[in-house]
């Protein structure tokens, strides 16, 4: 019997048209543009200078502050400059720009296909090594993984949860990883369990990926019995941490709380693979699996892509920007970010490039709210988007706090479902940020 979360949710069309595209290595680019802000928190600090020769996997910028992450070169070559360069949103942020020369890897990185099963490090060593390797959450937020694996002393982790829901339409990179690197991600899971000191892990996969569930169950039954593969009903936004915990354990993360408040730490499939590679193969996070998809494209692809590959290069490699496409989304259609500059480059957490046509993505003309309550029905946090929208437009921050705007996870279900095409999330997002800032600025009791 499949489970799902208890409140709201929608069924956007699956569109997993790239599901059968096996992962291929993307050809090396000519120039790598490596952002210093690829994670949540402070930008990393460069440890190389213009003119330096770097090898693939070499540390080029180190974590700066508590919430930050190391960055390694994804290529070998010469640093041509460290300068502001457009990021995904088009803002200029410092990038290390490297002219690619060959592909010479740093010594000590195991590039073989052999699966290393023995976990020799202890908890502390694992967390240290993950921090060294610059691993961040690959589910979207890019939160440094080593911090998530070190809960504060007053909080005890009971379970690890691996998020293989991939509930966003179109995306198939996690699916391909689950199929092609099944044992590696289970080892990655075990490593994180050891780091957290937990005895049991749940691995949630939506049932629209039966092949992945079957394979995971088969491999888990041989040596990974402490990892329970859980089949989940297809429902967006099941990949949200709060929804996943509710679906699997029927525990609810409190308002303003974190998963650890329910004794759970959630990590993504891609992160499990990155952890495996960091610990067992000594390979820092310098590449990732990226789905390149869109109905306007003749071919659907899944690439293993080096961090810092520009979107221009990717489009060129797949035969040019499709004529009908008007929007390039970094991520899925529900929560992904529209890319504004083609010269911007991929980051660690890039999991998909989605191309949408005008017809697929154009917003309808906004009409009057007919109070149909669809937004209330679908909100997975039990909020009233129609009301939050109205209050947001009037900037009534106190009322917004009373109505819990700060609980919004920005999944977009309300806006997706609104028959009057009201841009609910546009307005809610703005006041949510303000209300959160006010709440956090209050002295703690």
């Amino acid at each position: 019997m499949s489970r799902t979360f208890s409140i709201g949710g929608i069924h956007p069309g699956d569109n997993k048209i790239s599901a059968n595209a096996a992962i291929e290595n993307f050809p090396l680019m000519e120039t790598a543009y490596i952002s210093l802000s690829q994670h949540l928190g402070a930008p990393a600090e460069p440890v190389v200078a213009k003119g330096d020769k770097v090898k693939t996997g070499q540390l080029i910028a180190k974590a700066n502050g508590f919430i930050s992450a190391n960055i390694h070169s994804s290529v070998s070559g010469t640093v041509t400059s460290i300068e502001p360069y457009p990021d995904l949103s088009g803002n200029l942020v410092p990038h290390i720009i490297i002219k690619v020369e060959g592909d010479e890897w740093l010594e000590g990185i195991d590039r073989s296909e052999d699966i290393v099963r023995e976990i020799s490090m202890d908890s502390k060593e694992i967390i240290g090594k993950i921090a060294d390797a610059g691993v961040v959450g690959l589910g979207g937020a890019a939160f440094p993984t080593h911090i998530k694996l070190s809960p504060p002393p007053n909080k005890k982790a009971e379970f690890l949860m691996i998020n293989g829901a991939e509930c966003e339409p179109y995306l198939t990179s996690d699916y391909r990883v689950m199929l092609e690197s099944t044992e590696q991600i289970l080892i990655g899971t075990k490593i994180m369990m050891k780091a957290l000191g937990v005895k049991k892990a749940y691995f949630g996969v939506e049932e629209n990926k039966p092949a992945a569930i079957k394979k995971l169950k088969a491999v888990a039954s041989k040596g990974y019995k402490e990892i329970k593969i859980v089949s989940l009903k297809k429902m967006y936004p099941q990949g949200g941490e709060k929804q996943l915990i509710d679906a699997i354990l029927k525990r609810r993360v409190p308002s303003m709380g974190l998963p650890i408040d329910t004794g759970v730490v959630v990590h993504n499939v891609g992160t499990a693979l990155a952890v495996y590679e960091a610990i067992q193969k000594n390979k820092p996070l310098i590449d990732g699996v990226v789905t390149v998809t869109g109905k306007c494209m003749t071919e659907q692809r899944n690439f293993r892509l080096r961090v810092g590959t520009s979107f221009d290069t990717i489009m060129y490699a797949i035969g040019g920007f499709p004529k009908d496409a008007v929007k390039l989304v970094n991520g899925g259609p529900m929560m992904g970010k529209a890319i504004s500059k083609m010269e911007a480059a991929s980051v660690k957490s890039t999991s998909a490039l989605l191309l949408l046509t005008d017809k697929e993505t154009r917003r309808g003309v906004e009409g009057n709210c007919i109070r149909c309550g669809k937004c209330v029905d679908v909100c997975p946090m039990g909020l009233e988007p129609y009301l939050l929208n109205r209050l947001s437009r009037a900037n009534r921050l106190e009322d917004l706090e009373v109505n819990m705007v700060h609980d919004c996870i920005e999944c977009g279900s309300c806006m997706y479902s609104c028959p009057a095409n009201i841009p609910l999330l546009d307005t809610i997002r703005l006041t949510k940020t303000q209300v959160l800032r006010i709440i956090r600025s209050r002295p703690k009791k």
Partner: protein, 333 residues
């Protein structure tokens, strides 16, 4: 260089639109409309047509010439109001009755509050109640017009089952005597008619509409079920205490406008609550008030009044009965 379109997520939208939802409600009304055309012929067509056209034209004229807003008649909501109003009138009503009702429904009940989504009361019901108090004779003349398909109706006594019962009881007759004298049967109530408004001919056709609305997810079942359930339970209590003086719950549910009201009028999006809890309270309120008016009021039927009264409580219900929050528990410190 290709210019990229940039806008915040979500980048896709579901298929639902206001127009599509309104169209679905009109489709759900189709079985009832067809049955009434079968029984009342041209009269039913005339009323439906005049109602829909008048509502659309009034809305268009007000938007274009008075409030100077972009006309929104394409969303079908005005046409739906006209149709609902027509289906709530006696079948023999003259065309100008539905015309006046439509003027009131759209002009006063809808547009003067600001148009679609802004009105507090269900426009079609405001139109109907306006007509009921202004033209009481016409509005309670239940003579059946000739149909193309059938010669009149078997029991065209010119009264509804409810008014027959009300009158009978006031004369001191018992329910059994009234039933025997008038030859009522449940099958007749379910499939054909014993006098009543245009759209109330067949309970079965109305229920078909309900199933369609729920299957298409246009409405959730909370409101109709809580109205029907509370009417059954509340009227059942009276019937159990004194079956001589009160009709049984099945009769109560199948006669008059309860089904029409519960399925199509009380579920109007704009004038009904948003949360499940609010919907149930609203529905139960309608059910209880309807039974009270039927059993103790001056009118034989009370659902229109009951819905309008509960419409007034909707802002309050929305304010006090919030949906279940995911983060009920708030993290301290």
């Amino acid at each position: 260089m290709k210019k990229l379109l940039v806008s915040p997520a979500p980048h896709i939208h579901g298929k639902e639109s206001t127009r599509g939802l309104m169209r679905d409600v009109i489709i759900a009304l189709a079985p009832s409309l067809l049955v009434s055309i079968y029984f009342f012929g041209f009269s039913a067509i005339k009323l439906a047509f005049v109602g829909a056209i008048t509502c659309v034209l009034v809305e268009y004229a007000i938007q274009k010439y008075i409030i100077k807003a972009k006309p929104s008649v394409k969303d079908y909501s005005a046409a739906l109001t006209g149709l609902l109003l027509a289906l709530n009138l006696p079948p023999n009503s003259p065309w100008w009755i539905v015309f006046i009702g439509s003027l009131v429904a759209i002009g006063i009940a809808k547009m003067s509050f600001g148009g679609l989504g802004q009105n507090l009361f269900n426009p079609a019901l405001v139109g109907r109640v306006f007509l009921l108090v202004s033209f009481p004779v016409i509005m309670t003349d239940w003579t059946t017009p000739a149909s193309w398909f059938r010669e009149g109706i078997d029991s065209s006594t010119g009264a509804t089952a409810l008014s027959i019962v009300k009158e009978g009881l006031s004369k001191g007759m018992s329910m059994d005597e009234i039933f025997a004298q008038n030859d009522f049967s449940y099958a007749q109530m379910l499939f054909s008619k014993i006098g009543g408004s245009v759209g109330e001919v067949s309970a079965f056709a109305l229920l078909l509409g309900l199933v369609y609305l729920i299957v298409r997810k246009v409405i959730r079942p909370h409101i109709p079920l809580s109205i029907l359930g509370s009417v059954a339970i509340f009227s059942g209590i009276f019937w159990l205490i004194s079956p001589e003086n009160y009709p049984d719950p099945v009769f109560t549910l199948l006669t008059g406008g309860i089904l029409m009201g519960a399925i199509f009028m009380a579920t109007d999006y704009v004038t009904s609550p948003m949360s499940s809890k609010g919907m149930v309270i609203y529905g139960v309120g309608i059910g209880i008030i309807t039974v009270l008016i039927r059993f103790f009021g001056a009118y034989p039927e009370g659902i229109s009044f009951a819905i309008l009264i509960m419409n007034a409580t909707v802002p309050l219900l929305n304010n006090y009965f919030k949906p279940e929050r995911f983060g009920k528990e708030v993290k301290n410190g």
